[in-house]
Symmetry: C2
Subunit: 351 residues, 2 copies
């Protein structure tokens, strides 16, 4: 059977955006690993689609679930050979782990940041929290330094379970940092620690991004940073508020986007919004820049019921690509309230 034939049999059954190529990607990952979390990570097939697809492939006899593993059957192996599907490989630089930046240039910040973040509040499912490794947060700061977005800059952080505000404070470099979050525990923690390390130009303030950006923050910043939940409305709200906070042309923004919860269809929809509506040029997309620690509430997340194997992840499996955008046209942006629930769409799996 060819990939195209198999796709033809399955395509109308999927609830999600589904390309023929997703089949190749999934088989390719299955040739490299039997650990489903690693298969998700390697394949880059959206999590819910991948879970459903494994079920279909099991029914068709291409894979078998054995204990906690998903394995290719003889029929599955044969399918790979016939269709010239090779093993998925990680070929990222072993030194920077594909981050492309030199985190060691900020070794002192990294060391201090690791110390401080030991006491951070635990993630809450209620706010779709789940934080990245300390290396990821500090790498974001290093990237900002490399792009001229750190020293002497006014920086807005929209949502900060990753404690980027604190890492920024540790560099002592920004002119000011304003951290917005809905979670008072985080705000208190970040403000206290920033003061402890002697950075006094940080303000942590409670905010809900469904509300407009407060007037005193509009048009005030050189740079913003955010890592939203990945429904299109939430992405648009968080990033949109960030853009509203920028001074104007040349203002820069950073945010993360996964393949696990966003199909490339959603990627393109978001890119249209960034470029057309928000007047931004996309200057960087660094693959798998952010690595997320397991957030401890996997069993409660939406995707759990769909998983072909009910085993908890053994290591890092959830990564996001890191975007940098820069404003080149002052398009009109509304700063108005958004009604209703925004952190929900059919591709979201971890909320």
């Amino acid at each position: 059977m060819t990939v195209g034939e198999l796709y033809g049999r399955l395509k109308d059954k999927s609830k999600w955006f589904f390309m023929e190529r997703d089949i190749g990607r999934l088989f390719s990952a299955l040739r490299s690993s039997g650990d489903f979390w690693e298969v998700l990570d390697l394949s880059e097939v959206p999590m819910l689609l991948a879970s459903w697809l494994v079920g279909e492939l099991e029914r068709e006899g291409f894979v078998a679930v054995v204990g906690e593993e998903v394995r290719l059957t003889e029929k599955g192996e044969c399918f790979c050979r016939e269709n010239d599907i090779s093993r998925a490989r990680r070929l990222e630089c072993p030194w920077c782990r594909g981050k492309a930046v030199h985190v060691e240039a900020y070794m002192k910040v990294l060391r201090e940041f690791k110390g401080l973040s030991l006491e951070r509040p635990e993630p809450l499912r209620q706010y779709d929290q789940g934080y990245v490794t300390e290396e990821s947060t500090v790498a974001r700061v290093v990237l900002m330094a490399a792009r001229g977005d750190l020293e002497g800059n006014a920086i807005l952080v929209l949502g900060d379970d990753d404690l980027a505000g604190l890492a920024l404070a540790l560099t002592g470099a920004p002119k000011e940092v304003v951290v917005l979050d809905i979670d008072e525990r985080l705000l208190d923690f970040i403000e206290d620690k920033a003061r402890e390390v002697g950075f006094h130009n940080l303000e942590a303030r409670r905010a809900d991004f469904r509300d407009p950006l407060p007037e005193d923050l509009v048009g005030r910043f050189d740079v913003f940073l955010t890592d939203p939940s990945e429904s299109l409305p939430a992405l648009k709200a968080f990033i949109g508020r960030g853009v509203v906070g920028l001074k104007g042309l040349g203002g820069a923004g950073y945010f993360g986007l996964t393949r696990a919860e966003s199909s490339l269809w959603k990627w393109r929809e978001l890119e249209k919004i960034l470029v057309e509506d928000f007047g931004m040029a996309i200057t960087d997309i660094i693959h798998d820049f952010n690595a997320y620690l397991s957030w401890g509430y996997e069993r409660e997340m939406k995707a759990w019921d769909y998983l072909p194997v009910k085993a908890e992840p053994k290591g890092i499996w959830y990564r996001s690509c890191w975007f940098r955008i820069e404003r080149v046209e002052e398009t009109h942006l509304e700063n108005v309230p958004i009604e209703g629930e925004i952190v929900e769409d059919e591709e979201m799996a971890t909320a």
Copy 2:
């Protein structure tokens, strides 16, 4: 004087897209280097704008040209301090040089490729040729392997002074490679060497990208790769022909884009075309992925007359960012002839 005030005095005099931020970028680079080629590289201000701007700054007393160097005067240094402009820094990973991929995984290919490319034909100004380092070409191949765009894939190379076709042949991995170029010397060289290394699924064929893609190549490929001249019409033509060559959804493309010859305004215009018209999601933008060797005809290029210092570059100064795009919607694309000269626009400097 503030950056804003200086910008106010200069902005109406510029022929090019010019943001306030370009001033900060240029001063920041001038704080790090007096070598104008290095300043171009570090600042990321488009080459012609940067050359003009240095002239204006000299007239205003902020910089002085001393021998072969462009130096900040006391007034210029003072301006930087007052406006909190820090030194530009390279903070790319020292191992992969910011390429993010593990080139050493293909060390054998790199070694053989270096050997073979010693005999390559010299670049011709007539075709706007100028090739990248061997590491850059092989890194492109490694990135393709990492993204599942190499093994068993049918690959189209549109314009190949970088000899990507040959590097692909050395891996032995693609199902087929078709190289199109206007330069017969290159075509003969690539076809001969591919045969020499035992790769028989490579065809090198003469083509002009103003003409439609030949019928037998339409809809035939999984992946394309190109590194066009950076006028918007040329970018659109080369990349557009590549997209026309793809089989359909999930097909991927790779191409380079500089900051030296393309303002972020042009970046955004191109991104609009990619996302809207070509139906692509942009999946990767790797900063300064490609390093170009000096092409030996610097004195003949358009920018030479504009340069504040008439010295030849001492090392690599011209880099491009590397895009990966993937098709997620089959928008209608025309495969029709393009009339007139396409490799010319007001930001182009090296042609």
